[in-house]
């Protein structure tokens, strides 16, 4: 039984750590794939906090929110990867600086 063995602190620690790693990756890397995975990691840590609170309060609402979040994450992943593919097709690079030039591709055509 989880209530006798574990306290919420390790879970919060894990969520904080995951969020921090995601934020560090978002700030420090330029490879767009790594940036994308960092965003996913931050979203997952928010999921984890929601599940822990849902478990603490015995309320399924938090879990339902996480379920909807997972759907949003899937949508975000599809969009982000499509944009990366578009960038690679037009510039042959995954540098995040080139991402800003995506809006010019329409005008050049």
């Amino acid at each position: 039984m989880i209530s006798e063995v574990l306290t919420p602190e390790p879970f919060f620690m894990l969520a904080t750590l995951l969020f921090s790693i995601g934020l560090i990756g978002l700030i420090s890397r330029r490879n767009l794939f790594v940036v994308y995975m960092s965003i996913e990691l931050m979203l997952s840590s928010v999921n984890l906090v929601l599940v822990v609170f849902s478990r603490l309060r015995g309320d399924m609402g938090g879990s339902v929110m996480v379920l909807l979040m997972i759907a949003v994450i899937a949508a975000e992943a599809a969009l982000f990867l499509a944009m990366i593919i578009q960038l690679v097709r037009s510039r042959r690079s995954v540098d995040s600086d080139d991402f800003a030039q995506l809006r010019q591709t329409k005008e050049q055509l």
Partner: protein, 146 residues
């Protein structure tokens, strides 16, 4: 995950993180979310990103040049540290321990009951959002007609 230059190694780290997250959900007695995480995050999102990375197949010289990567990571870690400490303190101040879980917590039945009674509108919005994202992804990723 942050370290490696090759994106595929980062993707494997991401896969491990998502699997571990599913394990944590199982530890929190939330069996349905465990399954949803395995199916959606691991089965769809990670596999999709792996396939994109393999398809794109960037050469080493095409990858962005990051000569000061280690310094950047250290710098941003120092930048983020106070914030994460604050977040940890704020989160842990709210509750002290887990209560005994109620009967039927985390099962498919209670989840579905909650989802289709109180959360119907967000559920519908999520379905519309998924449809819009699907259409948008196809539009963005298709070849431009010349």
């Amino acid at each position: 995950m942050l370290w490696s230059k090759q994106s595929i190694l980062s993707a494997f780290g991401f896969l491990i993180a998502m699997l571990a997250m599913a394990g944590v959900f199982a530890l929190l007695e939330n069996s349905f979310l465990f399954l949803a995480q395995i199916m959606v995050s691991v089965g769809a999102v990670v596999v999709l990103s792996l396939m994109v990375i393999i398809t794109v197949n960037m050469k080493d010289e095409d990858l962005p040049d990051e000569p000061k990567k280690l310094r950047w990571i250290l710098f941003s870690a120092i930048l983020v540290a106070p914030f994460s400490f604050l977040m940890y303190r704020a989160l842990t101040h709210m509750h002290q321990s887990f209560g005994v879980s109620q009967e039927g917590y985390g099962t498919l039945k209670s989840m579905g009951g909650e989802l289709f009674s109180h959360w119907v509108l967000p559920f519908e919005i999520a379905s519309v959002l998924l449809l819009a994202a699907m259409v948008a992804a196809i539009v963005i990723a298709r070849k431009e007609p010349n």
